[in-house]
């Protein structure tokens, strides 16, 4: 097998394996792995250029491999076979801007399902926000102009839900939250 072919296969394997466990992959992480497998020498500048080409080719050749860019332009890679774009976006935003992440999740849920989102979900994987981070985000949302569409409603058993007024009016959001939190388990 040609060296470049072996590198291409190794890149796809690295990205796929990490995607299976719910992780995005940075180019430098791929390079480290390839170096560890003696397929590349990271200190060699020619090799770095060769790596760039190989990575590009691997993405083109394997249609499940995708790249996603953070706000700072950093590219990360994943395999759509086992990691969705939805999840990839959450991972990026979780790292970059939890406040924006919460708002985007709430807006998306309000728009496409449509439904409000229980605040508790942000404590769960992959959000993994702490109580303090969540409260800080809620405070920020209340103050910043670009988040004024994010509203809250509480169910009869005290569960707080968030929704976007761009997609749900308050009565409707409250009735949906009550249905999701109380109604469904009372109507099994």
């Amino acid at each position: 097998m040609e060296q470049h072919e072996a590198i291409g296969l190794a890149i796809a394997k690295i990205v796929r394996e990490r995607s299976k466990i719910g992780q995005l992959t940075l180019p430098e992480e791929i390079l480290t792995e390839l170096t560890g497998q003696n397929l590349m020498k990271s200190e060699n500048s020619d090799q770095k250029s060769q790596f760039g080409d190989a990575l590009k080719q691997a993405i083109e050749k394997n249609e499940d491999l995708r790249e996603i860019s953070g706000r700072d332009g950093t590219l990360r890679y994943y395999s759509a076979q086992s990691l969705s774009e939805t999840y990839a976006r959450i991972l990026i935003q979780r790292q970059e801007n939890p406040l924006l992440l919460m708002a985007e999740i709430v807006r998306e849920n309000s728009a496409i399902y449509p439904r409000p989102v229980p605040l508790d979900i942000f404590r769960e994987s992959p959000f993994d926000l702490t109580e303090e981070e969540i409260l800080d985000c809620l405070k920020e949302m209340a103050q910043q102009k670009e988040y004024q569409d994010i509203a809250q409603t509480m169910t009869s058993i005290g569960t707080l839900f968030l929704y976007s007024t761009e997609h749900l009016d308050s009565d409707y959001a409250s009735s949906l939250a009550e249905w999701l939190d109380v109604g469904q388990s009372n109507n099994p």
Binding site: G22, I112, S125, P126, D171, W179
Partner: protein, 701 residues
């Protein structure tokens, strides 16, 4: 002729009055009705005269399974139990209960597709079925025992592989609100007292045979894999409740609870449920945790594992271990159930000291599960508990009981949410002790009559969820709009139909639901989102018909309508489609009797029509639209005064519902004025003999 697969080939008939045991040929007599409820309705139509009461020896109780029971088809563990229904009020009519567990498979392996129980034994008996050896045995030593001890005693005689369907004290005492239960927690509600009336304590069954698959075995295995691949979690929720790496979509209220970090903590060692990629067919059983669904994430620490029926990877009966509850209340530390069974104890209470999902609520679940599943008390889809709360908090119980009896209950414990209150209440229901225990055990309709209460008041109170004939709604307008209303008008108990709700609650975005709806029911407008209902349209009528026929099909094939149908899936590469032909493909390969989806649906329609005919015959009227298919007043009211078709209300519009029923009768080819099937419709579906009898009685439109 090629050997027919699927069916065992024989139906067992046991006359408890005479002790006569016989068999009849399933294929010759019942093939046109498949099995399950199909056999049950056929026997009642042919053999049980109008005017028979549920506890008369002339009533029959039919335990029947279908050609897919005991095969490798997923979710094939359902046994239909059909009889004249003791809690159907004011007049008993045909209905069926459905139990999962291992009974269906064992019955098939023993060589039978059903058991027709008739007559009445002169002393308590139980029925032992071991392959071809069927014996009526003395149950006097078991009489007075709970379901658990009865099961153990019989299993000690028959061996641990036997499945025992037993009644508890509630059934023995002819308490209409009673169950028969097998495999520890799998019950069919409403029928325990019919067994009790026949002095039949239990049926134990063990078979060493197998189910013959007529079709190509490689094709069969491929089909099973296909079916497994489109399964979701419990209730066919096809998205997880938190984002998972593989998932595009998620829904916080999905029953798909597995996730990295969520563990069955009470297992030793604890077991990680993990990300459960839907392509990993060996991890389907990790997806569902109904204890966590109902009781919140606090239930993970008590979770041992999922349990469930033969052939079902979903495992919806979550097993929980709560040593604290065992120590405190003297009950076993492990319990398992789902839905109404899991919540049996909790649902009596309005509040708990630490909230509805706190530790005390879990204790109430444990106490309730153990007591109700041993005494064999039925909740009637939690109508028992809703009635109890209303009767207590509105002072009705106090007004109806003698002071001495009223004071014999620790109402302070009840109001505080102390689960030990259940030790005072539940035995008295099962043993018919006192006025309160006796009245609650009757079921809603007879309770209202006994206490001179108005059914109309129950029909106005949305919080009660009461629908008609002594029974509550079950997935009605609150979540499936007009389609849910139609479905709730059709049966003589709560409809137990999940075809519609397993679609609308599947968790997919509205756009995808609409795309799938258009493929199945001809228009995306067949589905709305909850609380944003649009006026009636033909798609909703088609969806209702499809839902009802699939329910009867599942109940007759032994597939689980709590899990299917499987028209959506978790698979992105399929566009989230499931397969609407899975039932007909399974049937065709298992039996060798090739039927298309449409042809099998026609058999389901025949079965459903026979249910309708039985209802018409036994009600003695063809005026079904006005006399049977009624809708309670709460459906048309909104507490905050919202009008129908505005967002945030589930209230329906009366004129629209009239049109709804018109459209439904039209898609069924029934007479719109009476709501009764026409002669042509009966005949088209091969029910000419039904026409003859109904015609003689003037019961055709």
């Amino acid at each position: 002729m090629a050997k027919i697969g699927g069916w065992a080939g024989k139906v067992l008939r046991v006359d408890l009055s005479t002790g006569r045991i016989s068999t009849e040929n399933t294929i010759e007599k019942y093939k046109d009705y498949l099995g399950g409820t199909g056999i049950g309705y056929k026997v009642l139509w042919d053999e049980v005269p109008t005017g028979t009461k549920p506890f008369d020896p002339a009533n029959k109780i039919i335990f029947a399974v279908g050609p897919l029971a005991g095969t490798g088809a997923p979710c094939n563990g359902r046994t239909a139990v059909t009889t004249l229904w003791p809690t159907c009020w004011p007049k008993p009519l045909v209905a069926s209960g459905h139990m999962g567990g291992n009974f269906a498979a064992e019955l098939k392996y023993a060589g039978y597709d059903g058991i027709i129980i008739e007559g009445k034994a002169d002393h308590p008996v139980w029925l032992s079925i071991v392959d071809g050896q069927v014996q009526i045995k003395d149950a006097r030593p078991l009489w007075g025992q709970g379901i658990r001890r009865t099961t153990v005693e019989i299993a000690q005689q028959m061996g641990p592989e036997a499945s025992v369907a037993a009644i508890g004290q509630a059934g023995e005492n002819l308490v209409p609100m009673s169950v028969v239960m097998n495999s520890y927690s799998h019950s069919a509600g409403g029928v325990g007292a019919v067994m009790g009336s026949k002095n039949l304590k239990a049926i134990g069954v063990h078979g060493t045979g197998s189910v013959y698959i007529a079709g190509n075995k490689v094709e069969w295995e491929k089909l099973i894999k296909l079916h497994l691949s489109i399964l979701g979690a419990n209730n066919q929720h096809v998205v997880p409740n938190t984002p998972q790496p593989w998932a595009e979509y998620y829904n916080a209220s999905s029953r798909w609870r597995a996730s990295r970090g969520r563990r069955w903590e009470a297992s030793s060692p604890a077991i990680e449920t993990g990300i459960c990629n839907p392509h990993d067919l060996n991890r389907i059983a990790y997806r569902t945790n109904n204890a966590a669904f109902y009781l919140g994430d606090g239930a993970w620490k008590y979770t041992v594992r999922g349990n469930g029926c033969t052939g079902c990877p979903i495992r919806c009966h979550t097993m929980i271990k709560v040593p604290r509850a065992a120590a405190k209340y003297g009950i076993p530390e492990v319990g398992q159930n789902t839905c109404g069974g899991l919540n049996f104890g909790r649902a009596f209470f309005k509040t708990f000291p630490d909230g509805l999902r706190g530790e005390t609520a879990i204790e109430a679940c444990m106490v309730g599960m153990h007591m109700s599943d041993d005494y064999g008390i039925w909740c009637n889809y939690s109508q028992l508990q809703r009635d109890f709360q209303k009767l207590y908090y509105e002072g009705i119980i106090k007004s109806k009981l003698e002071e001495k009896e009223f004071k014999s209950y620790s109402w302070d414990k009840y109001e505080k949410g102390d689960p030990s209150f259940l030790f005072e209440l539940l035995p008295r229901i099962a043993l018919k002790e006192g006025e309160l225990g006796t009245a609650l055990g009757l079921g809603t309709g007879s309770l209202l009559e006994r206490w001179f209460l108005s059914e109309e008041d129950w029909k106005k109170d949305h919080g009660l969820n009461y629908w008609k004939l002594g029974h509550p709604k079950h997935h009605a307008s609150e979540e499936v709009g007009q389609c849910g209303v139609i479905i709730n008008t059709q049966y003589n108990r709560d409809p137990q139909c999940h075809s519609h709700v397993n679609f609308t609650r599947n968790g997919l975005p509205l756009e995808i639901q609409k795309r799938l709806a258009a493929e199945i029911w001809g228009t995306p407008d067949a589905v709305d989102t909850v609380g944003a209902y649009t006026p009636m349209n033909i798609g909703k009528a088609r969806m209702a018909k499809w839902s009802l026929l699939r329910k009867e099909l599942h109940d007759s094939l032994s597939l689980c309508n709590w899990m299917g149908p499987w028209v959506a899936s978790p698979l992105k590469e399929r566009g989230y489609r499931g397969d609407d032909s899975i039932e007909s493909m399974l049937y065709s390969l298992a039996t060798g009797d090739k039927k298309s989806r449409h042809e099998l649906d026609q058999i389901a329609e025949r079965i459903f029509l026979l249910h309708r005919a039985l209802t018409i015959r036994d009600m003695g009227t063809k005026e079904m639209r006005t006399q049977h298919d009624s809708i309670p007043e709460w459906v048309f009211k909104d507490a905050s005064g919202k009008t129908p078709f505005t967002k945030g209300t589930i209230c329906m519009d009366k004129d629209d519902i009239e049109m709804t029923m018109d459209m439904y009768y039209e898609v069924m080819d029934w007479d719109k004025k009476t709501g009764a099937p026409t002669t042509a419709t009966y005949e088209k579906l091969g029910l000419g003999k039904v026409v003859e009898e109904l015609s003689k009685k003037g019961l055709l439109p």
